[in-house]
């Protein structure tokens, strides 16, 4: 199997990375024209790994070529979507793969300053990354006249301070400007008016880490690893009730069932599967009979869910679904920035209802109420956090209705726990 990212894991120092062939992608990219690099990335069918799956080459082409203002790259290392821990592995196991990707993206778009916005809780990994950046400056891969070209690039690490919403690209930009992480109304989009109102690209860590291979091996090669409209491989972060939780890199289009049973070792203590959240806590849950599904953006969308960040959370038969509802709704209520009424009021209301169901104080009609509140939040807000809160609630209420109704009726959890 051809892999793109994990073969570099462990090559942490710049010398080890170079010895294994590192920085050849950046070198080659700088010998191409920026247009040629963008063309190659378009051919690769690389889609954003931060959750939305937007085609990367297309996103870059929205940035004006000629700009009197400077342009910026923001690397999204906020990694806040519950269940997600893949970018952490890239940063600690192959920091130079990310730095090389940053050089390629910056060359393609004409950027001279890039910031890595990393979540505050990853403080120790931020230090590792800063060390790697120093090494790259020492070798002349960052700074002035990179690879002898008339091209300069500065790269800085910027720590967040605990706020999930700052992973949303316009909130990230506000936060980087030293403000509260309140998402901005779009349009204008960051591509034309982002950081300091200048043209800005926001890309996820994993998205950028794919670029060196796309340049060295070609866009077509990368596209051929995946399926029709999702090129390459994907890092899946598997957690929950599996025997071997961890990171697995697999071609786009691999079956979710294969990932869980062949790679992650199947369900702990060989229990029965109850459900799988396939792409972080915002993605609608799948029932056991729905998991023989190719893991790519379009297939999951068709199944009414999302590939999202590729964070696969596995639930076995001992899981209380009311509890799952409670944890998920509490999270979004805690993280809403409060700018939009449906989100500010809807998220705590859902959390309150879920909490009372768990506590045995659920009422008749609570499930319909939850679904109504969730529906009324969708598509009406500045950022998609409200939708991210609503979608999993609707799916859980619809797919596990019998159990939840029993929980409400019996005033206690119907799932036998050991």
């Amino acid at each position: 199997m051809s892999l793109v990212i994990t073969p570099w894991f462990g090559k942490v120092s710049i010398d080890d990375y170079i010895k294994a062939g590192g920085y050849q992608g950046a070198r080659k990219a700088l010998s191409m024209s920026p247009e040629e690099v963008i063309e190659e990335v378009k051919k690769s069918n690389l889609r954003g790994r931060g959750g939305a799956g937007f085609p990367t080459g297309l996103k870059w082409s929205f940035v004006p070529k000629e700009s009197t203002k400077p342009k910026y790259l923001c690397v999204n290392a906020d990694e806040g979507e519950p269940g997600t821990f893949k970018d952490k592995y890239i940063i600690k196991e192959a920091p130079h793969l990310l730095i090389e990707g940053v050089i390629i993206a910056s060359w393609a778009v004409g950027i001279n300053t890039a910031f890595v916005y990393i979540r505050g809780e990853y403080g120790k990994f931020a230090l590792l990354l800063e060390r790697a950046i120093e090494e790259a400056y020492e070798k002349g891969f960052l700074g002035k006249n990179i690879f002898g070209k008339d091209f300069s690039l500065d790269l800085f690490v910027h720590r967040g301070a605990g706020a999930y919403v700052c992973g949303e690209e316009t909130a990230l930009i506000e936060s980087l400007e030293g403000k509260r992480g309140n998402p901005r109304i779009r349009p204008p989009f960051p591509a034309t008016m982002g950081l300091y109102n200048c043209p800005t690209v926001v890309n996820n860590v994993e998205t950028l880490a794919n670029l060196p291979a796309i340049i060295t091996k070609g866009g077509e090669w990368f596209a051929s690893l995946g399926v029709e409209k999702s090129g390459g491989t994907k890092l899946f972060a598997v957690s929950g009730h599996v025997k071997k939780p961890g990171i697995y890199e697999l071609p786009m289009g691999t079956s979710l069932k294969t990932l869980i049973y062949e790679y992650a070792g199947g369900i702990r203590e060989n229990r029965r599967l109850k459900g799988v959240i396939p792409g972080g806590s915002s993605s609608p849950i799948l029932k056991p009979e729905e998991i023989d599904i190719p893991l790519d953006y379009d297939s999951l969308m068709k199944a009414g869910s999302m590939l999202g960040s590729g964070a696969v959370i596995v639930l076995d038969e001992t899981t209380c679904m009311a509890k799952v509802l409670q944890v998920i709704t509490r999270f979004y209520a805690h993280e809403s920035c409060g700018q939009c009424t449906p989100c500010r009021q809807g998220t705590p209301w859902m959390a309150k209802i879920a909490e009372r169901i768990v506590a045995g104080r659920g009422r008749d009609g609570d499930l319909d109420l939850l679904v109504d509140i969730a529906r009324s939040m969708m598509g009406k807000t500045i950022c998609p956090l409200a939708d991210a809160a609503a979608m999993p609630v609707i799916a859980i209420c619809e797919k596990y209705r019998d159990e939840l109704e029993e929980h409400i009726r019996e005033k206690r959890c119907p799932v036998e726990r050991e």
Binding site: G83, G120, L176, A237, G240, I247, V324
Partner: protein, 156 residues
């Protein structure tokens, strides 16, 4: 007025230079000041505002938005236990109860000897080793009550 050490001040000045707009350094400067003083109260906000030429209210609204800034004195060690989904599936709730009993504090509370502050937090990005806690920024996973006892025992 509390002092910022010359070493921290040096770091702050270097930081400010990275950004085309001074205000951008705010989150990073607050991290440094918090490391110096342990928390950021009104005086801390005013000090940072002065360094960055900002209205104190601009600093205040940021300090109160982000969960990692402490606004009142905390213990010598901060324990952050994850309460999000994977950790809950793997038993976080009973560990949180255990920690509360062991330390005789509620969420957000500090032990009477000032050694530990206990906080519950959302997903720490370490679900592969759930249930997880962070103590002073270091990750500890696959937690059990016995393991928690050992880890806290070693923190003086």
């Amino acid at each position: 007025m509390k002092e910022i050490s010359p070493k921290a001040m040096e770091k702050i000045e270097a930081l400010i230079k990275r950004y085309p707009v001074k205000r951008s350094a705010l989150l990073e400067v607050l991290h440094i000041v918090q490391q110096e003083w342990g928390y950021i109260d009104q005086e801390g906000e005013e000090t940072v505002a002065e360094i960055l030429d900002l209205e104190p209210v601009r600093v205040h609204e940021v300090v109160s938005f982000y969960t990692m800034y402490e606004r009142k004195p905390v213990g010598k060690h901060i324990i952050r236990v994850c309460r999000n989904l994977t950790c809950t599936l793997m038993g976080a709730e009973s560990l949180i109860s255990y920690l509360k009993r062991k330390l005789k504090v509620d969420e957000g509370g500090t032990t009477s000897d000032g050694r530990f502050t206990l906080q519950t937090v959302e997903c720490l990005g370490a679900c592969e080793i759930a249930p997880v806690m962070q103590v002073d920024g270091e990750f500890y996973g696959n937690l059990t009550p016995e393991k928690i006892d050992r880890i806290l025992e070693e923190m003086k």
